[in-house]
Symmetry: C2
Subunit: 355 residues, 2 copies
DNA sequence: CTGTTAGCGCTTTCAT
DNA sequence: ATGAAAGCGCTAACAG
């Protein structure tokens, strides 16, 4: 019923081996032969059998991308950039027939929802598929048990030849890491606020036990310490990386200390929720309270007032991770590179109100 | 080097077939035997070979999801909902060993960037992988050549047993379709504006030749016609589905007709750009000009003023598409269901200014 | 309930 | 430059 490589071979009057070589373009084949084969492929409307090919070659065209939340542009932007780099490549031009889908890699985007278990599950699934490479994005969960399990799993995958790249994650053995300087960014942001004269700053964190959350908060605290401002635990509320969390946490912060003059949010989405809460509480931004975010997602510049934040080069970092995963770019020296953010000062921050 | 099913069989002192049956849980196996097998799997740290399994069974665990832009939450939300439904399922509970990744389907999210060619390429790739199902999201491109090519490709995939579901797309043969009522939503929105007293409305479209773009615009025009308002082509500017397009198109609209009292955007992202342009032009929203979007993405409620828009149940529709793709929910009668939007009236629309 | 026997469709030495 | 042949690791009849 379905057309196989053997059918193509028969039609082109060559051996299956030759057809395979034409399709893979990894071996010299006479131009005339190749043409004959390609014609047969077309006429028969042949489509390569991926699983069979992967089985025989012991490697597949799949590249895994792990994200915490696919509905969040933070991850969507990185995933898109990674994906754009895994297609194309050395084999891109001609080569690989079977329905004019030349040498493309297929991105398998896995939505972990931030769950360590799902992260492991997806890695196993990817391992099953003999994925050529896997890019892990976003912060890591710091539970020791999970870290061990993850390290073990990654070690096995690396040993099996899967290329591993971390994008926006702290380094782990066996993988190339492109780390975001969350600590430095968080520090810059708070320094900016302190420079404006703020002394009573509230902070809304992301989910607990994630490196991203911890590092951004550490940066914030470092800035406070450097300015000699007491680090009052009541000024920190723990939340999630969503709008609602920002809204509720802001209300809580205000309840605890109505005199707050600035709110620093774990990311832009949270900051948006914070803005909404402040407005609903009748407070003006930045006249009464300044607000700052993190990431500089596309919508942040359109907030009113536009959000002061730390811009992370998500797209560039994702593209680079993708190229490294495909072996098209050299990994950074030592396998680790730190990607810095850039402070974007906009309308949502200003001097503190008097009183 | 790598552990195979045969190794597990040897260790558990059973035949490979039995191991396969335990792993797939699709055939009765004595409890004691199963346990022995599972133990061997664990001890050997065995990981199923996906490609080999797919080859032998002539079907894989992969489910394709085609999106126009993975960085756009419109698609991210649908993709996330689809994905959440394709894991789990009848086989979910126990079954399928090989590293505790029981019976999961892997979502292959393909980012077409709105390109018809890439759409076809990805379908071929998915066909190669013998994907169990494919969900196509977002509007279709209406070029006749592409439509034919797509129909042909989908026909072949359907014939090969791949389940096809469209989510937010107009119906095509061989596939179950969950269509958004873009025309009705567009009409409601413009009716709302007309009801407020607006007579000079600008419209910013999405990309040309896409069904979503056309339908929303048709709804807009139907509302104008019903109210006896002339459909001045100068009041329609064609753009893309992004913020910048909304910004520029709005400026162009204002240049053409400074007396405009309302701007209807193809979607929320475009509307955000429109708001920015209006503000930069020194116009107040909605006092001077009303603005309306479409989709009701999460950030829309946080716009200032909050955006009037048409809410599309993206998450629900995606989840349903996912279940249908997995055969866990009956397709709608006739294979087609229309999903309606809901008008969300918020602060960005109000009565027109005098003069 | 379990074992035996054939392949699934492709890639890859090894010849020629 | 091309062909022949031997699997890759698993599933699915078919027996028993």
């Amino acid at each position: 019923m379905t057309v196989t490589l053997a059918d193509v071979a028969a039609r082109a009057q060559v051996s299956p081996a030759t057809v395979s070589r034409v399709l893979n373009g990894n071996y010299p084949v006479a131009a005339s032969t190749r043409e004959r084969v390609l014609r047969a492929v077309d006429e028969l409307d042949y489509v390569l059998n991926g699983p069979a090919s992967a089985l025989a070659a012991a490697t597949s065209d799949l590249v895994g991308i792990l994200v915490n939340d696919i509905a969040d542009p933070f991850f969507g932007i990185m995933a898109g950039a990674i994906q754009s780099e895994i297609g194309g490549g050395p084999w891109t031009s001609e080569a690989r027939g079977g329905g004019r889908a030349g040498g493309e890699r297929l991105a398998v985007v896995c939505n972990t929802g931030g769950s360590p278990e799902r992260e492991l599950t997806y890695l196993t699934l990817l391992q099953r598929q003999r994925a050529a490479a896997v890019v892990l994005t976003g912060g890591a969960v710091e539970t020791p048990a999970h870290q061990d399990a993850l390290a073990e799993k990654l070690g096995k995958m690396a040993a099996a030849g899967t290329r591993l790249v971390l994008c926006g994650r702290p380094p782990v053995p066996d993988a190339v890491a492109l780390t975001f300087d969350n600590r430095g960014g968080g520090q810059q942001l708070t320094e900016h606020l302190i420079g404006l004269g703020h002394r009573r700053l509230g902070y809304i964190t992301g989910p607990q036990e994630r490196t991203t959350t911890r590092h951004r908060l550490e940066g914030h605290r470092a800035a406070l310490a450097a300015a000699g401002i007491e680090d009052d635990p009541r000024r920190v509320v723990h939340g999630r990386y969503d709008r609602r969390s920002g809204y509720e946490a802001t209300l809580e912060l205000l309840r605890r200390e109505p005199q707050l003059t600035a709110v620093v949010a774990a990311n832009d989405t949270v900051a948006l929720g914070a803005c909404a809460a402040l407005r609903d509480a009748g407070l003006r931004i930045p006249d009464d309270v300044s607000v700052a975010g993190f990431d500089d997602l596309p919508f942040s510049v359109d907030a009113v007032p536009a959000l002061t934040t730390v811009r992370l080069p998500l797209s560039e970092a994702g593209a680079r991770a993708g190229r490294i995963a495909m072996g098209r770019e050299e990994p950074p020296p030592g396998g680790i590179a730190t990607v810095r953010g850039e402070l974007m000062v906009r309308g949502s921050t200003g001097g503190p109100r008097k009183g």
